[in-house]
Each structure stands twice: as structure tokens, then as C-alpha cells.
């Protein structure tokens, strides 16, 4: 136990650790941000394909194609992340010229997270009121206009929530990537905690990851509520009531 307290004291005393943690946090952050943005865009495209392309969707696509996409997503989702990462590292080599380091961990993160994001976003796209889509069709919208001007804007708040969830999940995946050559806080936690029995460093690295998650969630929740005008979230509804006392009796 004494070793733990000594180690902990050293973590806070030494400049070397400070620098290491700062670098680690920065690496975790930027690899997660880049991976999330790319995975989100890919996942969003897949989700739109799934929702718009199904038989009752706004732009039905051939059934076999939809089946292939569905199965592919399921396969990618069911392979454990660490295994997937091993399979995908050659991709990093082709794309980035290296298999190790923070940047090299981005392609596997994207491949692992995109199908997950696709399912997440698919669920939220399906929540758009079919009546609203019907109204848009009645107004003479093309399928593309319905996707771009109706479906996506109508679920913007929930898309932001999806993005937040994706970010947090990828942050976790990124920490795991530390085990096999990735950079960031995950690497620090594993190198010191697991390989050198320095639990203090491991603990601090973990706490930093927890803090990042908390901040990400807070920002995501705030933005989601901020852009939501449907009055679903408590905050917005409260604000609306303040502005318009008559609303309560009128909406029943």
C-alpha cells in the first residue's frame, strides 16, 4: 500500500508524469474526435441507406442489396473490438504507412464504430413522425429532399445525442487500443498499471478518462437540448411554459 501512496505522490510531483498525462490526454482526445467524426459520417450514411432504402422507405432499394448491408453491419458489430483491431491494422499500414501509434489506431476505431453508429442513428431516424414524411411527400418533395430537409433536421437533437454516445464509446475503444500499440491515456494506464504494477498512474489515467467522458456527455446533452424545439426535454419545456402560460391548458 505504501508503494501506491508513494507512486501517487510522485505522479503529482514530477514534471515527467505531468507531461506524459498531458500528451496522453491530447492523443486520446484528437484520435477520438477524428475517429468519431469519420465514423459518424459513415454511420450516418449507412443509417440513411437503411431507413430510406427499405421497402416502405422514401426511396426503396433492391431487397438483396439491403440484406447485404444489414448482414455486413451485423458481422462487423459482432466481432470483438480487439480482434477486429488486429484484422484492421493492415488497413492502417496501407492508409497511413504505420501500424503503431495514435494515428494508426484511428482506422480500426472507425471500422469498429461505424456499424455501431449506423444502428444507433438508424433508430433515431426511425423516430421521425411518419405523418410528417407523408406531408412532405404530399407537398411534392423528392426522396432526397425528404432526407435532407425533413428527416435529418427533424432528428437533429437525437443525432447530437448519437454523436455523444459514439464519442464516448470510441474513447473507450481507444483506451483498449492502447493495449496493442495505440497511444493516449489507455496506453499509459496499461503500460504502468498492468505491465509495471504502478496502480497510481493507472488510476490517474482512468480518472482522466472518466473526466473526459463526463465533459463530453455534459456538452452533448446541453447541445441536444439547445437545438430541440419539440419540447421533449424538460429544460426546453420549462422555458416554453415560462414564456407562454396559456400553453399548458391549450395543449391538452
Amino acid at each position: 500500500m505504501d508503494k501506491f501512496w508513494n507512486d501517487l505522490a510522485e505522479v503529482f510531483a514530477s514534471d515527467r508524469y505531468l507531461e506524459e498525462f498531458l500528451t496522453g490526454t491530447w492523443e486520446s482526445l484528437y484520435s477520438t474526435v477524428i475517429a468519431t467524426v469519420v465514423a459518424f459520417l459513415l454511420g450516418l450514411a449507412l443509417a440513411v441507406l437503411l431507413v430510406a432504402g427499405e421497402r416502405s422507405g422514401v426511396r426503396p432499394l433492391p431487397g438483396p442489396l439491403m440484406k447485404v448491408v444489414n448482414i455486413l453491419i451485423n458481422i462487423l458489430r459482432s466481432v470483438p473490438f480487439l480482434i477486429l483491431m488486429l484484422f484492421v491494422t493492415p488497413l492502417s499500414l496501407i492508409l497511413l504507412g504505420t501500424q503503431i501509434g495514435t494515428v494508426a489506431s484511428i482506422p480500426p476505431l472507425v471500422v469498429a464504430a461505424a456499424p455501431f453508429v449506423a444502428r444507433l442513428v438508424e433508430t433515431s431516424l426511425r423516430e421521425v413522425d411518419p405523418g410528417v414524411i407523408e406531408a412532405a411527400q404530399a407537398m411534392g418533395c423528392t426522396p432526397f429532399q425528404i432526407i435532407r430537409k425533413v428527416i435529418l433536421p427533424e432528428c437533429l437533437p437525437s443525432l447530437i445525442s448519437c454523436f455523444t454516445t459514439a464519442f464516448i464509446t470510441i474513447l473507450g475503444y481507444g483506451a483498449m487500443a492502447g493495449a496493442i500499440g495505440g497511444g493516449g491515456l489507455g496506453k499509459i494506464a496499461i503500460n504502468y498499471g498492468y505491465h509495471r504494477y504502478n496502480l497510481a498512474v493507472c488510476l490517474v489515467a482512468t480518472v482522466l478518462i472518466v473526466i473526459l467522458v463526463q465533459i463530453a456527455q455534459a456538452i452533448g446533452s446541453y447541445l441536444s437540448a439547445r437545438v430541440d424545439h419539440q419540447g421533449k426535454t424538460r429544460k426546453v419545456r420549462y422555458r416554453v411554459r415560462l414564456n407562454d402560460p396559456a400553453r399548458q391548458e391549450e395543449t391538452t
Binding site: G131, V132, A135, C141, V150, H229, V240
Partner: protein, 334 residues
């Protein structure tokens, strides 16, 4: 002019085919306010969706101003839909857009310049009586206000036809009347043909000029509101027009006649004069009268004494009254 020719719609279901519409033929002339009534499940919503081809009929033709929509390629159909506006029971506004942006939406789709669209949207807000709600979001409005915004949005595409799918069914009676007034006003001022789908006869009574009665996917009868209300010819028609009056199935008498009042004469003392002038003592078995466009309509079931002579006299007398028709009601059918 909207012309529906031999429209049938069949939905495949797990239990076999469901025939939602069966050989519907209907003509709706320009400028009419045309009601399509029926109980829920009668096929009204499917029928109205056949007019803008949100539902493609299994068989038949949809002609608008002589042009067969079913034959149009997808691209042109989409364009054509812009001249057929639609409002809904649940309003179906875009919840993440302000009212003004909602009204701009159809113009945005059609490629109208934003500044011009905004200008026109403000005018439509004025027409529907909500000029101060431009910046409000639909969630902040009451049901009636939301429907007004939906109407403004419908008008924004400058339509020739307005389809109303149970547009007032989610609203309270007073708001319903206000919205119906607005629709009527739009019909009169802008000359837009209105098709109203409803299960409430009150709505038809209030604004329609013509009405068609739909039951189990079959068009039972159609005509002017005056014709149908004064003397519905089919069972489905009678059920809708007089929902709780005059159910003759339970009546014992065989000498039952139906007297139909067609405008103006509902409040004349026909029964009293029948007794005084002819000496026939009629028994009122049931009656229901309605006020349609300022005229009184109604029907009354009378039981007559068991005497052929008296029956003949009574029939003769009533036939000679203005604005009244009479028919004998046989046993077992009404």
C-alpha cells in the same frame, strides 16, 4: 376537376387480400367543397390518398383536369403534387422549424427565392390570422393554431386543390368551427377546390356543397348535401345522417311512412294540419332535423292508423305540401 374512375385498392395482408376501395367513381368539380364521409375503416383516408397518389390505386384512373396521374412518370407526379395541398388530423408540421419556416417549406421545395418565400409566408400567416406567430415553434402552439399554420403551409404552394384528412378531428368543437370557417373562406376567396374527409356529419353540414358516402370501401351515394341530407337513399347514408334517430328496425307498425323535409318547411305544423285537415291521427315514431346552409332539412317517421283509406288520404295530403317528400317504409328495411 377531379375525376376518379373505377378506383380499387387492394392491400395484401396476412389473412389474405383486403379490399379497401371497390370500384369508386366520383367527379369533384372545380370550386366545390366536397365531403367524403364514412365510419372509421370505410376507406376514406385511402381514397383521399389516391387523389394525390400517396396511395397508388390497384386499378382505375385518377384524372385531374383530364390528366391521368397514374400514367405520369415519378418526376412529373412529384411536380403535380405541388398543386394538390393536403392538411392532416395530426397537423404534421416540422417540429424543428419555426412557423414561418414551415410555411416557407413548400416554396423552398419548389425553388422559390428565400426572400420572396419569406414575404409570401408572412402574407399567409396573416390570412390564417396568426401574424404574430412567425418566430414561434409548433410545440408552443395550441392544436387550432397548429392547424392554421398547416393551412398556411398548404396555401403556400398555391394549390388548386386542398385535401383535408380529418383536419378537425383532433380539435374541440369551437376550434373546429373556426377552422372550418377558415377553410370555407379560402374556398370562396381563392376558389380552391376542397375535399374534406371526415366521420362527422357536422363538418359536412357546416361547409360542404357536395357529399359522398363511403361504406366498407364502396361508394354508397353521392350528391349535393341538400339531396343526401333530406333523403338519404342507402342504409349507410341514413346511418350517418340520422345516427340515433329513426331506427325503424325495432318498430312494430307496418304502416310507417318517412316524411322528408327539404328546405324551409321543417317548422311548419304538418302533423297538426294532417290531423285537422284530413282527420288522420299520425303517431311520430322518430324525427331528426338538421340545419344545412341556413335551410331546414329533416326526416320524420310517422305511424299511421291501420286503415287503407286513411293512409291514402294522408299520403296524398303530404305529397301536395311544398318541399316535402314522402315514402312508405316497408317492413324490415330502412
Amino acid at each position: 376537376m377531379i375525376e376518379l374512375r373505377h378506383i380499387s385498392k387492394v392491400f395484401p395482408t396476412a389473412e389474405g387480400e383486403l379490399r379497401a376501395l371497390d370500384d369508386i367513381n366520383l367527379i369533384i368539380r372545380d370550386g366545390d367543397v366536397f365531403g367524403i364521409v364514412g365510419m372509421s375503416g370505410a376507406g376514406k383516408s385511402t381514397l383521399v390518398r389516391c387523389i394525390n397518389l400517396l396511395e397508388r390505386p390497384t386499378q382505375g384512373q385518377v384524372l385531374i383536369d383530364g390528366q391521368d396521374l397514374c400514367a405520369l412518370p415519378e418526376r412529373e407526379l412529384i411536380r403535380k403534387r405541388r398543386s394538390i395541398a393536403m392538411i392532416f388530423q395530426q397537423f404534421n408540421l416540422l417540429m424543428q422549424r419555426t412557423c414561418l419556416k414551415n410555411i416557407c417549406f413548400p416554396m423552398e421545395i419548389a425553388g422559390v427565392k428565400p426572400a420572396q418565400a419569406r414575404q409570401r409566408a408572412l402574407e399567409y400567416l396573416d390570412i390564417v390570422g396568426l401574424p404574430d406567430k412567425a418566430g414561434a415553434y409548433p410545440a408552443q402552439l395550441s392544436g387550432g393554431q397548429r392547424q392554421r399554420i398547416a393551412i398556411a403551409r398548404a396555401l403556400a404552394s398555391d394549390p388548386k386543390i386542398l385535401l383535408c384528412d380529418e383536419a378537425t378531428s383532433a380539435l374541440d368543437p369551437k376550434t373546429t368551427r373556426d377552422i372550418l370557417r377558415l377553410i370555407q373562406d379560402i374556398n370562396r376567396r381563392l376558389g380552391i377546390t376542397v375535399v374534406v374527409i371526415t366521420h362527422e356529419m357536422g363538418v359536412v353540414e357546416e361547409i360542404c356543397s357536395h357529399v359522398a358516402i363511403l361504406d366498407h370501401g364502396v361508394l354508397q351515394e353521392a350528391g349535393t348535401v341538400e339531396e343526401i341530407f333530406s333523403n338519404p337513399k342507402t342504409e349507410a347514408g341514413r346511418r350517418l345522417v340520422y345516427p340515433d334517430g329513426v331506427a325503424i328496425d325495432q318498430l312494430p307498425a307496418t304502416n310507417v311512412i318517412r316524411v322528408a323535409f327539404q328546405g324551409g318547411s321543417s317548422y311548419e305544423p304538418l302533423i297538426a294540419s294532417l290531423a285537422i285537415d284530413c282527420g288522420v291521427k299520425a303517431n311520430i315514431l322518430g324525427a331528426d332535423t338538421r340545419n344545412v346552409n341556413g335551410q331546414a332539412f329533416g326526416s320524420m317517421l310517422l305511424g299511421l292508423p291501420d286503415d287503407p283509406d286513411q293512409i291514402a288520404r294522408a299520403m296524398n295530403y303530404i305529397k301536395n305540401q311544398p318541399n316535402v317528400t314522402v315514402e312508405e317504409v316497408g317492413e324490415g328495411h330502412g
